[in-house]
Amino acid sequence: MLVIDNVTKSYGSLTALQGVSLELKAGEFFGLLGPNGAGKSTLMALIAGLRRPDSGGIRLDGQALTPDNLGSRNKLGFVPQTIALYEDLTAEENLRIFGRLYGLQGTLLRERIDQALVTAHLQDRRRHYVKTFSGGMQRRLNIVAALLHRPKLLLCDEPTVGVDPQSRNAIFEFLQMLNSEGLAVIYSTHYMEEASKLCSRIAIIDHGRMLAIGTLPQLMTRLPFRESLRIEGANLTRDSLAPLLSYGELTSDADAHVLTLHANTRLSDVFREAEAARLPTSSFQLTRPDLEDLFLHLTGKSLRDT
């Protein structure tokens, strides 16, 4: 459905995107994971047709997405990072404006507004000013405002920034529901939890480059390790743990030892060896790698530190 082909975009001397390519299928929930300034918003802006790439191209169902080509805009819905609503207007008035911009009018527009308000659980607040809404309500309205024209692809540019956990979960459920109805979603975030929870496929982006792309299990195979064992015990020394060194790399700190397992290691082999060496396996804690580990592995820095 969406094809991004070797796209590059610079702002003066700053290269925001360099040679980015990807394809998106219909109904896919795709995550763009990267720190602030990685190039996620630039890529979103290019897909939305807000900017023109310096080189390369973006096509949706075969149509080029550029600022000049308004024809394909009806297939796209864009949820900006900010709450892009008119605060001094009511929820209904906001939806009417954005619906009209996509050419909706009359009965169809009214029906779509009603549906959007129900979807966002705001039907009782339709005539209330947006400025009186909670952050979560505004975020939900911010999303449904991009869905009135029934796009095939929804672009969500960090839609949960500044949202409390409860509202964030509501938004997740909402987006998952829309996705289950066939809507393709590109979801940019710098929260790995969001990406791993929502997205069927994830691209990790940093400094304008696509570092990795795939499903979560596929991405995890990029790591030279799979899991790690945290081993706590006052009497345990590195010498006493020597039988396990062939299965992974051992690091120690004041509280515990951590055995990061090699990629081809089977857990059952490790536990068998530990029991043979009479090590206290009940104190072993298994930790699975996550996107944070992958990001650290790919970039040499923590996602949260960027």
Partner: protein, 447 residues
Amino acid sequence: MNPILTLFLKDIAHFRRDRTSLLLTFVVPAVLIYIFGNVFGVNRESTGPVGIPLAVVNQAEGAKSADAIIAALQKEKTFRLITTTMDANGADVPLTEDKVRSLFRENRIRFALIFPPDTESDDTFGLKVKYLNNPRNDIETQTVNGILQKTIFMAAPSVLMDALRKRATQAIGAAGTESFYRSIARSVGQSFNTDPEKVFDEMMRGDILSPSSSSADTPDSAAVPSDFFDRMIKIESEQVSGKQVKNAAATRSVGGWAVMFMLFSVSGAATSLFEEKKAGLFRRILAAPVKRSHILWSKYLFCTALGMVQLAALFVAGKLLFRIDVTSNLANLILICLAASSACTAFGMLLASIARSPAAASGIATFLILTMSALGGAWFPISLMPDFIQSLSKLTIVYWAMEGFLQVLWANCTFRDLLPYLGVLAGIAAVINAISVWRFNRGEMFD
């Protein structure tokens, strides 16, 4: 629905909800115009300054000219004559020159007339008067000078004629003077078919140059010499424009004020682009099938419409408060309002295109609007300004809008007469819009 229309209606809905903007656009200008109007006295039956303190010291005992001038000044509403002061005991005593000078030092008066003891002299023809002034306000001083001259020259001729008659009598003797007057009276009588004796009597009484000689209570006897001099120096005064104007002062002023307030309003509305950019609304709008030009045109139409509505409200206020006639040339008034509003909107859009923040736009707007209003004649008549300022004023929207409004409201012009003003304002709007579009395309507003 067309995106421009959708965004235009959005701006209207947004504006209607913004009570502060409504207040600033309609109520505040109307209130300020009412206050300014009354401050400048545009609702008075007669215009001009009133009650300016004028100290008068009469040291010329028995001088008829001094008495005549003082009497005339007392009738002149421009002045409030001060002829006495209080002494240490609280009693009124006549002003002295020393006291007058001390009043100047205390900044309690700015004008004084002193009739010295030799105001009239048998040795010379004419009057001697001292005029003391503190010209700290140039316009006020010029006005006072003009009115003083008028009053003095209206009141003094009869006494001057007395002096002239005395001097003539001294020079050529009583018999020669009488003979001269009789020959003049005969000529007048023949020319105007009237009794030469009556003319002679008038001349001997000295009424012949007196403005009061044409008073209605003596129509027959006094009319002849008055007519005679009227025919000698006949000044015809004709108001060739603005005869129909009901409230001249307000009609002159309302255009300038209206344009100034409109500039503030539409500049504020145009710079609301910054708020929409900050809220990320442009990213959302431009992700829809909408072009930048749609946003700009919708804003332009909204601001122009806002300006029109504001002007309409202000002119209605002008009609209600100051009896300004806004309906007799309504079609042309609407046209000049449209031209002025579109030019002012172009100015606001230019501000939004060149400024980097709302605060910067607001600061630049305040500076430029006040400058243009002053230069363009919204505050003072540009004829009072230096030549180079008068040249600069023609570069301002305020000047052309004001001139256009005056053409419509004052001169009751035709559409053809108004065309140059409409053309200049439209040209200004076109040029500024071209610059704005160029700036918007290069700037960061829609990034």
